[in-house]
Symmetry: C2
Subunit: 463 residues, 2 copies
């Protein structure tokens, strides 16, 4: 295992002699092995190691024990450790991000601060080949391009390194056992609890059994091949971008003639990059927005406009396209999200979030039913859940009724004004409406005397 | 549906007015809908339509009925039809390709001949969005890059068109019903019978239920996005290729200095393209062979050589790398293939093929056991099957014995000469050896009184 680890380190030029390395250590098998391996090459590479642990304050005593374990483990190896403690759940609520995103943000902030303080050079984190394979599958299932499929980088910005990315989880577990490291149970599976765990525990074993025993290596290799292509395309984009894009404080100009000469794959990325440069990130920017811009530039009249999320607009001028922070915000209420149980979903159009959980029917009495919090019989769900606005032809079977009616008629009967109807989010099981949020649940999904697993759904306006 | 079909046709500029179109018609819902849709726009577009059907001679009477049905269907619509009949199974054996590959080769040959004869312009085939999604998943599972993930093209060489690629299978079935087309049961599922059917019937429904109801659209969109990137990269490769590659009859020269300036993603494709140009195709060329060449060019001494499959070799000269048909063939006996039940596997290293089938235990007496044909209890398999050469540390539990022994010892006891041992293919269930082909099966997988499903494996030297 040490050889495999060193091979990865050398192949990707991860570590230079004499460097200081901040190591993220949860206390699980991955990060403990990583720290142990780095410690073994400490002398040869003349490294300074700093372990950083974050107590997520999530499972009270257990989390404290994790922190104690990491502290002692480091003490035994003579590695300086930094143990932090923050209320990640609270932070996640405040920022409207998932628990795992919150944890990641806080951890990387801490890594950076320790790196600065100790004048270190690198941050080492412990993702392994299983994580890589799961990430590829997860992104493919959610929808992605080559950016997503190239998954986890070995080295990012010549700073963050992942030396375990070619090593499988079971090899790491073996390593811990052989070296008697006694790691804590890994709790890194918090992200997309439902999705990632299902991929790990069901989907990958299923593919291994029926299609390809080596699926993890296969996916890891695919990510590596695609990463090269991604790099090449990004370099090509940067070359063109520098030539044809000019930024001032409040707007970006793209020179049309040169733009039109570029390949569509490059055009789309130039527009994305321009939006990112202007507004800081690409949140809420979808492929269809970019396609609108492409169409505007191709067929549009001088003076033509297109509106983008984040209050941006694009104006077609004679020889340039201008993207600027516009005044009109004309987001249409027309959205559709997949719901992953256990994850917080942000509904940016409504400045709200949506939470789903599963509980045992025995715990049902503990839940208060409210307009924006309700429950269903999980086992009555047939497809996957989506959250979307209404559509032509929608039908609904209101709680307490037998037959279905047109959703439109339901709205009329409920005296909901026309201009409000587009803003009411609907939770659906495939095509079937389960819940008109804030109004009524469907008869078809109600909890009854046979219910075993209860799906609890909560909708919350952000403060 | 007609609108959706026309949208795809227009978006990809598939058909011009006045063109002649050869339509591949199996008689299944997809191809019958395609023909019907083309017939509906025949007048508006002033099209000449030619239906081509191939009787595969696979299921005797049924296949004849398919052909009759297609002929009558065309007669009713006033479309000229060409009905061919060929023994695809025989062709497949002769050429050592799968049944589906054989069918495809023959069909496209027939399409081309009809196109030429009738002076037509396009060949229309009937893949749908489900086929697209299945192809993306299948390729991802087997291992691929962006070439594979961009999956099925809408238009190929401005000749082959696929106007149903944005339409889902159930929409096509609805269309057939509404228009009373009465298609034959689709038998297009012959390719990778086991793999593709499992993806269609198990894997996609599972993903729809647990992860993403819209997985088919998601995968189709991903393929479309990646296809743009693939095109851009290919164009970039062609530009460099023209500049730095020179071909004579028996060898290809690549100018080193310019080659070294290219990005790794481009380098790899230039080498592949050179090999393809020299030897006609890229069969048996793996990523590792290309990597060997990259390493040779980067670090190699002038005069250094690398050997490739297909009897090719590469020689490093002062300012060029030369790829030519070499004399020495030094294929090492070190291979590993995944076995997909129901597919013929070609073991190129041994010039042999390998066939796997499942039968009911009741039919066991019909099978003759031979050195190169044997059977196992299917339900004792735990992982996926692979076929590979021996490896350090292999162990084996010979039929009739209780404990396991080193494979090496088995070979010694069986008096198999050292130089033969690398050439003996092993069938494994994950890590566990099931069959030392030509010698012995494993006790652990034998058929016993509880066996229900029998796995029949056959190994054949090509003539």
């Amino acid at each position: 295992m040490l050889e495999k680890f060193l091979e990865t380190v050398k192949k990707h030029n991860m570590i230079k002699k004499g460097e200081g390395i901040v190591v993220g250590v949860s206390g699980g098998p991955d990060s403990i092995s990583l720290l142990h391996l780095l410690w073994r090459i400490k002398e040869e590479y003349n490294l300074s190691l700093y372990a950083v642990h974050l107590n997520h304050q999530f499972r009270g005593k257990e989390a404290d024990e994790d922190a104690d374990y990491v502290e002692k483990f480091c003490e035994n190896l003579g590695i300086k450790s930094f143990i932090f403690s923050e209320n990640v759940a609270e932070y996640s609520k405040k920022k409207g991000v998932t628990f795992e995103e919150a944890g990641r943000e806080i951890r990387y902030r801490l890594f950076e601060s320790v790196m600065k303080k100790m004048k270190a050079h690198k941050i080492a984190v412990a993702q392994n080949m299983d994580d890589q394979a799961e990430t590829v599958l997860m992104r493919l299932i959610r929808g992605t391009g080559i950016e997503g499929l190239s998954a986890i980088d070995y080295v990012r910005d010549n700073k963050i390194i992942r030396p375990l990315l070619d090593i499988k989880r079971y090899e790491i577990e073996d390593y811990c056992e052989k070296n008697n490291l006694m790691p804590r149970i890994d709790k890194t599976n918090l992200e997309a609890l439902y999705t990632r765990n299902r991929i790990r525990l069901e989907l990958i074993p299923y593919i291994e059994k029926h299609f390809n025993v080596n699926i993890k290596q296969t996916l890891s290799r695919t990510a590596n091949i695609i990463r090269e292509d991604k790099e090449f395309i990004n370099i090509s984009v940067q070359k063109v971008y520098k030539k044809i894009v000019k930024k001032t404080e409040s707007e970006i100009k793209i020179y049309k003639e040169e733009f039109e000469k570029s390949h569509i794959a490059i055009k789309k990325r130039i527009l994305r990059e321009a939006i990112r440069e202007l507004s800081g990130d690409l949140k809420n920017i979808q492929n269809k927005h970019i396609q609108n811009l492409i169409d505007l530039i191709k067929d549009g009249q001088v003076g033509g406009e297109a509106y983008l999320p984040k209050g941006l607009c694009a104006i077609l001028d004679y020889d340039v396209i201008i993207i600027r922070k516009g005044k009109r915000e004309i987001e249409k209420y027309d959205f559709e999200y997949n719901i992953n149980i256990g994850e917080t979903l942000n509904i940016k159009e409504l400045d709200a979030c949506f939470i789903s959980n599963i509980i045992n029917v025995k715990d049902l009495q503990k839940i208060n039913k409210e307009s924006y919090k309700t429950y269903f019989d999980l086992d009555k769900l047939k497809k996957g859940m989506i959250l979307r606005t209404r559509r032509e032809g929608d039908r609904f079977t209101p709680f307490g009724m037998k037959g279905s009616k047109k959703l439109k008629d339901f709205f009329i009967d409920a005296k909901i004004p026309r201009e409000e109807r587009d803003k009411i989010p609907l939770v659906c099981d495939g095509e079937e409406i389960m819940w008109i949020i804030g109004h009524r649940i469907s008869e078809k999904y109600k909890v009854d005397q046979n219910t075993k697993n209860v799906l609890v759904l909560t909708y919350k306006k952000n403060q």
